[in-house]
């Protein structure tokens, strides 16, 4: 941590504008409100990641505009649009947008709120989770075959935590296929399964053979 970090605002884009961030935004038709402000109001009440589509529906604006406005907000909170770098930031996780405390301030906040972190997952649960994440949709039997142990109770734990869910049941065999949830993505701090690290390099012969259905590197 350095000393005080005043923001150099000498190169502000809108030199004279007192409220420049609003300037380029036409007041929004539906709400007759500045789009970015309406979005930040929504994000202030949200208690889980908000998908862009939901936000667009709420403000009654085209997805493209909302997407641009969100990008502006991210930059705004990051102090890239001439203002300060906020103590909070806007992150895209688990398929939606959500306000987080900026990492620099995590410690101050942790000391203050004593949130209870959920119990950590056992190694068995983590490995099962990894197999399901990469091979979904997958049955318990198939996970058990890869891990060479019975995974029933671990799968139950993961489902109870909301990290995995039943995706579908095979109509013939009755086997339940599991997949991961958006909550898992949120808890990993990623926005989509594409952000999982490629696993092929870890496997022998890359994509050869049995693991060919794994995410390509």
């Amino acid at each position: 941590m350095t000393t005080e970090t005043p923001i150099d605002i000498t190169d502000r884009p809108a030199a004279d504008g007192a409220d420049e961030a609003d300037a380029p935004l036409a007041p929004h038709a539906a709400a007759d409100l500045p789009l970015e402000r309406a979005l930040e109001a929504l994000l202030i009440v949200a208690d889980e990641p908000q998908p862009l589509t939901d936000l667009a529906a709420a403000v009654g604006a085209p997805l493209r505009e909302v997407s641009a406005a969100i990008a502006n907000l991210v930059a705004d909170f990051d102090g890239l649009t001439g203002g300060v770098r906020r103590g909070f930031e806007l992150r895209e996780v688990g398929g939606g947008w959500r306000i987080y405390v900026r990492t620099d301030y995590d410690e101050v906040v942790t000391d203050y709120v004593h949130t209870q972190n959920p119990a950590r997952l056992s190694p068995a649960a983590l490995e099962t989770l990894a197999v399901i994440a990469y091979k979904q949709p997958i049955t318990r039997g198939a996970v058990a075959a890869i891990r060479a142990v019975n995974v029933d109770s671990v799968v139950r734990t993961l489902a109870g935590r909301g990290l995995i869910t039943e995706v579908f049941t095979d109509s013939e065999t009755g086997a339940i296929h599991y997949g991961t949830t958006d909550l898992l993505l949120t808890q990993l701090g990623i926005n989509s399964l594409d952000e999982l690290p490629p696993i092929s390099p870890l496997l022998p012969d890359g994509a050869d053979g049995f693991d060919s259905d794994l995410r390509p590197a």
Binding site: R98, G189, F210
Partner: protein
């Protein structure tokens, strides 16, 4: 902290292999530990040594208490036993179909071990991310009173009997615990996996008869899967067939100009569900 009476996996000095059951999570874990302990690549030499230790370990299990654990090892133990037999056979005389089958079984075991290890590594990434992220603070605050009050009034239609029925449904265990029977009946055979074998046998080599391509295979499912895999390869113009007379010898020739792993990855996708 729960005292951990036997945290070490082995006692190198005494040379006696011991293992704390709570410290590993199944046969593959144990195998990896054993292999790691040998500090050897997974080679035949390492394997035979590992096999010995593994069997020694099994012998040392308290049958009454460790039955559950032990049963999980049977499949691996059986495979390893086979492999040990293969190791005892004279080298360079791999003409016997059974030998070939043993080698395939070994390859399969290695492949599964490596796959298992890959997921173990991936699990570490998950662990790190989950830990880092659990220290972050998302905004998650109670809805302001005025918005809470403005939510539409609850539309409630459920009678008390319906409510009880719902409770009964919700409280009935949804998954009946089952005993794993995977080792008792034939596992599903992957066409893609069999195709990989075929590609390995055919690619860049002499034409081979189908008979040869399935030599050593005793499981009908694998024979069928190999045949289907051949048809898939044919569909991708990776092989060509020659059959002089009906029901005669089927000769398969590798014919793909360029073939890569991605072709294999997409192969047999029709059979995936």
């Amino acid at each position: 902290m729960v005292p951990s009476p036997d945290p070490v996996l082995d006692t190198p000095d005494s040379g006696v292999f011991r293992v704390a059951l709570s410290n590993f999570d199944g046969p593959f874990d144990l195998l990896l530990t054993l292999i790691g302990k040998r500090e050897l690549d997974i080679t035949e030499i390492a394997l035979s040594a590992v096999t010995d230790e593994f069997l020694e370990y099994l012998r040392g299990l308290d049958a009454a208490e460790e039955m559950d654990r032990a049963s999980e090892f049977i499949v691996v133990a059986a495979t390893l036993l086979d492999l040990k037999i293969a190791g005892l056979l004279p080298q360079g005389e791999l003409v016997d179909a059974e030998d070939v089958a043993l080698l395939e079984a070994r390859d399969l075991l290695f492949a599964r071990l490596l796959q298992y290890r890959a997921f173990k590594e991936a699990a570490r990434w998950f662990e790190d991310r989950l830990r880092v992220e659990s220290e972050r603070h998302p905004r998650s605050v109670r809805l302001e009173e005025k918005f809470r009050e403005s939510t539409p009034e609850l539309h409630w239609t459920l009678g008390v009997q319906d409510f009880a029925a719902l409770a009964l449904v919700a409280l009935t265990p949804r998954e009946i615990p089952t005993v794993g029977l995977d080792h008792l009946h034939a596992p599903l055979v992957s066409i893609r996996e069999q195709a990989a074998h075929l590609v390995a046998m055919l690619r860049g080599g002499e034409p081979m008869s189908f008979r040869r391509l399935i030599s050593g295979v005793t499981e009908r499912g694998i024979v069928v899967a190999r045949f289907l895999a051949l048809l898939e390869l044919y569909r991708h113009a990776a092989v060509s067939f020659e059959q002089i007379e009906p029901l005669g010898e089927l000769t398969v020739t590798w014919s793909a100009a360029d073939w890569n792993a991605e072709n294999l990855a997409n192969l047999g996708a029709d059979y995936d569900n």
